[in-house]
């Protein structure tokens, strides 16, 4: 028995007549082909999830190689600076294009968004599957690139280095990033249409859980910004293959133009990474505080505001590039505007804890880690948006530390938190929460040891992308490397706790954390077509109808007293 019959009259039936109770999307059809050609958003999401986690393992391995090499100045584990340069390039490219950008929208978003919305699937299931295979093509092209001699351009592919380097794998990897861009565009397009068109009756815009708002804002950026990356990479390929001068000054091109194009995508891309994580954190914090999220509308609007501002701040990556002082000043001023909606979100999350009933579950520990790490990542953004301090800090380890706090400490920690949040829903199994929480703590400690050190390293003047360094920086590098090993232990424990759930995990109840949004009202794992009949949509942040049921080992949504759902119960809600 993998599904649990909800006794309450308000719950949605999780079985369909004539179909066995154990029927769910994982068991509905069998065989490898039923996965390869599936059009089910949940299966596509699960395939994305394993693929992204595989890429994360690979990118993480390169990170450990980098950190180990930096234990001592000069050669440590490789005597070749070229090898080191390939490692950091691979680490960056894999983590950005194959892991963080697709991680939340394409993996968790695919699985959860339609169910949360109350839809049977995304708007374009075939496009969804196509987008997954584009991801696979991108990943394969990365491997082809390695076979052809790899690439040492840095993940930013700055010209003229990228068009003149002798490394053999540059064109395959540019093609990979181009293809991955389309994978991202299609996912975004799918989600925009799904949110606009497939909301069931009652799911108004301001009824949508904040995760949906975040994914929606993300999808807009994906669709509007990613084509710019596509055309830029294409121009780079053209320049490298047929020597048409677009960016290379020796052929009449302009390398700073490339930087404008690249950051016009890649700055919004930072918000493609962080916004979905913010959505997850809104969900985890509200559900584990068992109270209405504080300032719902302000959080929703701040997602849209961040998406908007993300398009007009790209120039802050180029304060030292030779851009004019006037441009620098304008970009600096606008960049600060991103700080405001970000700060507002943090304040709202904290206010949600106030007078809540805070359950310290494993996902909640990740959400609290996120709050801590995102605050540091966000605040250090002030140093980099400020003109005079950025001139000193630009292209040093300070920047490395800052974006790891945001991209890893926030986006990836949010992703891992979301994984723990929805794992029981996705696979119908509970993981060992004790082990999961310990792992979270170890990752948190390891992360800070690794990356906080790098703030000092950078502000003391250590440039980034250095294979060799001055001996006075060694103490910081050693501490940072130790931190990375601690993190590796933490992630290993996380993997043990999650995979262990397949072997000795309890069967998950439909609603283990006490959520109210629709995905918690269908079975764990969800049935093949999510909802037998259109679900009733209540206020997803009204937890007064959610009750702990010891018999289920989980929570039960009893809407019989909710006047919105059951008009006969008028007035009883207030007495609750």
């Amino acid at each position: 028995m993998t599904t649990i019959q909800l006794p309450s009259p308000g719950a949605i039936p999780d079985t369909i007549e004539g179909r066995p109770a154990s029927d769910n999307y994982l068991t509905h059809t069998r065989g490898i082909l039923s996965w390869i050609f599936t059009l089910d958003h949940k299966r596509i999401g699960v395939m994305y999830m394993w693929s992204v986690l595989g890429a994360f393992l690979l990118g993480g391995t390169f990170a450990l190689l980098l950190r180990t090499e930096l234990l001592t100045p000069g050669p440590t584990i490789t005597a070749s600076a070229d090898t080191y340069n390939q490692w950091f390039t691979l680490h960056g490219a894999i983590m950005v294009f194959l892991v963080i950008i697709p991680s939340i929208p394409a993996a968790l978003g695919n699985i959860i968004l339609p169910i949360m919305l109350g839809a049977k699937d995304v708007a374009f299931p075939r496009l969804n599957l196509f987008s997954y295979y584009l991801w696979v093509t991108g990943a394969v092209l990365c491997v082809v690139s390695l076979a052809m001699g790899g690439f040492d351009t840095g993940w930013t592919f700055y010209t003229p280095y990228s068009t003149t380097t002798t490394a053999g794998g540059v064109i395959p990897v540019l093609t990979a990033a181009f293809v991955l861009g389309f994978s991202s565009i299609f996912t975004g397009l799918n989600f925009i249409v799904t949110v606009h068109k497939l909301r069931p009756p009652g799911m108004t815009w301001f009824r949508m859980p904040l995760f949906l708002w975040a994914i929606y804002a993300t999808a807009i950026i994906q669709v509007l910004a990613t084509p710019v990356l596509g055309i830029t990479l294409l121009l780079l390929i053209v320049e490298r293959t047929v020597n048409i001068g677009i960016f290379n000054p020796s052929m009449g091109g302009d390398p700073v133009l490339y930087q404008h194009f690249f950051w016009f995508y890649s700055h919004p891309a930072v918000y493609i990474m962080i916004l979905p994580a913010m959505g997850i954190i809104s969900e985890i914090i509200a559900i584990n505080s068992h109270r209405a999220i504080f300032g719902y509308r302000l959080i929703a609007f701040s997602s849209i505001a961040i998406a908007f501002f993300s398009f007009i701040v790209w120039g802050h990556h180029m304060f030292t590039s030779g851009q004019s002082a006037l441009m620098n000043t304008l970009f600096s001023a606008i960049s600060f505007s991103v700080a405001i909606p970000s700060a507002v979100k943090v304040f709202n999350w904290i206010a949600t804890l106030y007078k809540g009933s805070v359950s310290l579950t494993t996902p909640m520990w990740y959400a609290l880690s996120f709050l801590f790490l995102f605050t540091i990542g966000g605040l250090t953004g002030l140093h980099l948006a400020t003109l005079s301090t950025d001139v000193h800090l630009h292209d040093t380890y300070f920047v490395v530390a800052h974006f790891h706090y945001v991209m890893m400490g926030s986006a990836l920690i949010g992703m891992i938190g979301g994984l723990h949040h929805w794992w029981p829903k996705i696979f119908g199994r509970m993981y060992d929460e004790r082990l999961g929480t310990i792992a979270c703590w170890i990752i948190f400690i390891g992360f800070n040891v690794t990356f906080f050190t790098q703030f000092m390293l950078g502000s003391q003047g250590m440039p980034r992308r250095y294979y060799d360094y001055q001996p006075e920086f060694q103490v910081y590098h050693v501490i940072s490397t130790i931190g990375s090993y601690i993190m590796a232990v933490g992630f290993t424990l996380t993997a043990i706790s999650l995979f262990g759930s397949f072997f000795n995990g309890k069967k998950a109840p439909a609603n283990p954390w006490g959520g109210r949004s629709l995905e918690w009202q269908c079975a764990s794992p969800p049935p093949f077509d999510n909802f037998a009949k259109a679900p009733r949509v209540g206020d997803c942040y009204d937890f007064s109808v959610v009750h702990w049921d010891p018999k289920l080992g989980g929570y039960r949504v009893d809407e019989s007293n909710d006047p919105e759902v059951n008009p006969a119960a008028q007035g009883t809600k207030a007495a609750h």
């Binding site: 020796s250 002082a325 600096s332 804890l353 809540g356 609290l368 630009h394 001055q470 942040y541």
Partner: protein, 387 residues
């Protein structure tokens, strides 16, 4: 609290203004965050950083403090009843915490903008030094034609660097001066700074253990470090040199000596008096002990060149000297297939006399230390003959 932050910000701004007027008496010592501050703008930058840091400390403490407090106070255990007395929104509060950060970031912008103007605008009387960056070396050219691999600047005078690159992007970064500027091929960019505090001069001023400026070559005078901070390939992390600040008189003397330093050396002494200095430029890529680096080792290079099929009677090159000379001036003309075509041309940087010095150096390699490239101790530095 907000009031305090604003007051603090205001006091920092006035402190900034005060510093701009008076200047400091000595380099600011390194702190937890920042390295030695030795330029006229470094204190402005450091104060901006301090302002931002304090704002960060306060907000960080606020966020973490409230989070921990609420989590502990409102901790819930499974099965307990949920609290229901919570507020769902509070418009005045939400407006307040949108407006306060807005005011604060405007303040930070203004402080940062003011100190940026100082960084950006070079004074009119600045002393120009032309800088050429190439994979993976720096070349500094002074108004009298003198060339150097390390940067020498006069103390107490604004210096403007005119930057150009012959290949890919580079970036000039002197942390102690808080200066950074990308070097873009096909464009000229500028960086300027002024340092009022002389460092030592290699070969003339010994290290002072009490000096605030502590970096610099181990066996030489103190100096500030100069880095390349825009990724440029294999030798990127080795593309760093030193900055020596000399008082006005020594700087003039140094510049004159530097422009003529080879002229005074007799032809037969070139290899041991000029050779090691030139080699210091080459050792990023070439070794003396047979280790293969980015380029071939100089150990045994003459024999290897003579054995190449393209050198010798009736071939492209008549003599090994021709081949080496071409490799220095037109490096891409013939590249041994196991190496990349990455060597920059030294045309205009090494004249005939300097090339003669290199050729002589290669012929007498056994007299030189393979690590430092300098004459071994058993040879007399004045004559080059064994003591």
């Amino acid at each position: 609290m907000t009031h305090q932050i604003l007051a603090h910000t205001a006091s920092q701004i006035s402190a900034l203004a005060a510093f701009a007027q008076t200047g400091a008496a000595e380099p600011t010592p390194p702190t937890f965050w920042m390295p030695v501050g030795a330029s006229t703008i470094s204190q402005g930058v450091d104060h901006t950083l301090d302002v931002i840091n304090w704002i960060c400390y306060v907000f960080f403490a606020l966020v973490v403090g409230l989070t921990v407090w609420f989590v502990v106070k409102y901790r819930h255990r499974t099965g307990d009843k949920f609290r229901t007395d919570y507020p769902t929104h509070n418009t005045p509060l939400e407006i307040t915490w949108s407006v306060i950060p807005t005011i604060i970031v405007i303040g930070i912008f203004v402080v940062g903008f003011r100190s940026y103007l100082d960084i950006y605008t070079a004074p009119k009387n600045a002393f120009d030094i032309k800088v050429t960056a190439q994979k993976w070396a720096w070349s500094f050219q002074y108004p009298n034609g003198a060339l150097s691999d390390d940067l020498y600047i006069p103390a107490g005078r604004p210096v403007r660097l005119v930057l150009r690159s012959t290949d890919v992007l580079h970036s000039l970064y002197i942390p102690d001066f808080r200066v950074k500027r990308d070097i873009v091929p096909g464009r000229y960019t500028y960086a300027w700074f002024q340092c009022d505090f002389p460092t030592g001069q290699p070969g003339k001023t010994p290290r002072d253990p009490n000096a605030k400026v502590v970096s610099g070559p181990e066996d030489d005078a103190q100096a500030h470090t100069l880095f390349c901070t825009e990724y440029c390939g294999t030798g990127h992390s080795k593309m760093n040199r030193y900055v020596y600040v000399l008082d006005e008189a020594s700087f003039g003397q140094w510049m004159t000596d530097q422009s003529q330093w080879m002229d005074k050396i007799p032809e037969e002494e070139l290899y041991f008096k000029a050779g090691p200095k030139i080699f210091a430029r080459c050792q990023q890529c070439h070794s003396l002990d047979g280790t293969v680096g980015i380029g071939p080792s100089w150990k045994g290079i003459i024999e290897r060149v003579k054995a190449y099929p393209i050198v010798g009677d009736g071939k492209e090159y008549g003599t090994w000297e021709d081949y080496i000379r071409t490799s220095i001036l037109v490096p891409g003309k013939y590249v041994v297939p196991t190496y990349g075509n990455v060597m920059p041309s030294f045309k205009g940087q090494l004249n005939d006399k300097a090339i003669d010095a290199v050729l002589g150096y290669m012929q007498q390699l056994e007299k030189f230390d393979t690590k430092t490239g300098k004459l071994k101790a058993e040879f007399d530095p004045a004559t080059g003959i064994k003591k």
